[in-house]
């Protein structure tokens, strides 16, 4: 059975103490390195993050904090978006009136809508700047190619997220922006009209389009976005943290990962050291000992 120190630690303690440990499994203000590592590793929301992080990673110049800020605008958008959902009805008859209600009848309604809209613009801008940072620091290169691809998909989803939200106020600005935007999709050869029809649910921007954009905006796209953001973060960790200069990379390898020592190949005529070892060209056997231990040696 796994060691459960919290059970012993909390025995005989106050009910608040026991409730805290039942949730967090670590002290509220961890002071030792062990407790501090566990505060991260034992937390559901933080466990995707490593317990330690390179000092260089935290320097402002390294990332300018752009990816983090993009994520935080998304958090603000989810919270303000959910609050706005309580007041919004996605029909051409009601949508615009609900905007007026937000101004006049809802407590902090204007602020809520303003924050949602400006955060949405900020998210698009920050995602673009984050993409530029990653490219200009060469951080998209191997082994992080796929995380870059995920990032490109996330950027497109962010644009589509913003675009679908743009229609919802159902004012002249929203309506004609979507007319123009979806007309661009209609220029695709062969499938253009079909794509446009699928987006709008009609040949015109009307009630069907409003409903479709609403469902995409509040359910489908956020769900996909949350999934891909999780994947994006997980890959940062699996790719060994942020990209770093070659010298620092060697240093980090020396610090944490045991470097396999290459053993020289026996020359012709020598007895093979291990007769079971597959020779060059042999198929690797099932249960290849290199599988998954992360210390695969390059030849």
């Amino acid at each position: 059975m796994q060691n459960l120190p919290h059970v012993d630690e909390t025995r005989g303690k106050s009910i608040l103490h026991r409730i805290w440990y039942s949730i967090f499994r670590s002290t509220p203000l961890p002071a030792t390195a062990l407790d501090r590592s566990q505060a991260v590793a034992n937390n559901f929301f933080l466990h995707i993050h490593s317990a330690k992080v390179g000092e260089r990673t935290l320097r402002f110049k390294t990332t300018l904090g752009l990816g983090l800020m993009t994520f935080f605008t998304f958090i603000i958008l989810v919270v303000t978006g959910i609050l706005l959902m309580f007041y919004y009805v996605p029909t051409p008859e009601q949508a615009y009136d609900r905007m007026l209600d937000l101004r006049s009848a809802v407590f902090f309604g204007s602020f809520l809508r303003n924050l949602h809209r400006w955060s949405a613009h900020a998210m698009v801008l920050l995602a673009l700047l984050h993409m530029m940072r990653v490219f200009l620091t060469g951080s998209h290169k191997a082994p992080r190619e796929f995380n870059w691809v995920l990032g490109v998909v996330l950027l497109l989803l962010t644009l589509f997220m913003s675009f679908t939200g743009y229609l919802l106020p159902w004012d002249q600005l929203a309506y004609w922006a979507i007319v123009v935007g979806t007309a661009i999709a209609g220029y695709a050869p062969f499938v253009g009209d079909e794509v446009r029809f699928i987006m709008l649910g009609d040949t015109q921007v009307g009630s069907e389009a409003l409903l479709r954009f609403y469902v995409l905006h509040v359910a489908v796209l956020p769900a996909v976005l949350v999934l891909l953001i999780g994947w994006h973060f997980w890959r940062i960790r699996k790719d060994g943290g942020l990209a770093r200069p070659r010298e620092a990379l060697a240093a980090s390898a020396a610090a944490s990962i045991p470097v396999p020592v290459p053993v020289p190949e026996p020359k012709d005529g020598d007895e093979p050291r291990n007769k079971d070892e597959p020779k060059d060209g042999d198929e690797p056997k099932d249960g290849d000992e290199d599988g998954g231990d992360g210390s695969k040696e390059k030849k």
């Binding site: 330690k52 998209h140 123009v180």
Partner: protein
């Protein structure tokens, strides 16, 4: 000498007091023990408190903007009264500007190629070097290509946003 020697017990006698002994010397590279290790800090509190500060700063800035500037709200949507010009959201105005030259290439062809190029970029730029360094000299060709594309899109977006008026004619914003 690349041969693995069998233990040379004559030259390297076994010490009976020890459970280990020197078996052979392998002429090869070993761990880079002389390199200074990368300085690491604990995520809590060094990292997470910084993240919190970034969040608070961002939230304060966005809140101030939201208190000062109201989100635009025009007249109710009316399919019979198109504004002139009708503009897409700002991030698509680069596309709309290109569409004014060629509907297919501006709206579909070039955007598709750019997305494919973006996805392919890390696979095309396969030569290692310059990772984690701003504007590394060995990557200047890639960086200039990227900046040229982004700059062109930025200029087109600015033109579409500020310099286009009625009938998509060129205007000056001032």
């Amino acid at each position: 000498m690349s041969k693995i020697e069998t233990p040379d017990f004559e030259r390297l006698p076994v010490n009976p007091d020890k459970t280990y002994g020197l078996m052979c010397v392998v002429p090869t590279r070993t761990e880079a023990v002389t390199i200074e290790t990368e300085k690491q800090v604990l995520s809590w509190p060094e990292g997470l408190l910084r993240y919190l500060l970034v969040f608070l700063a961002l939230f304060v800035v966005l809140s101030i903007i939201s208190l000062v500037f109201n989100a635009p709200l025009e007249e109710p949507a009316n399919a019979l009264h198109p504004p002139n010009p009708a503009k897409a959201p700002w991030y698509f105005l680069g596309l709309q500007e290109m569409v004014s030259y060629s509907a297919f290439w501006g709206g579909v062809g070039i955007p598709t190629l750019l997305v494919l190029l973006a996805i392919a970029a890390p696979y095309l730029e396969s030569k290692p070097g310059g990772e984690g360094v701003w504007f590394h000299s060995c990557r200047s060709a890639a960086n200039w290509t990227f900046l040229t594309i982004m700059g062109t899109l930025g200029v087109l977006t600015l033109i579409g946003t500020l310099f286009r008026g009625k009938n998509w004619d060129f205007i000056l914003p001032w």
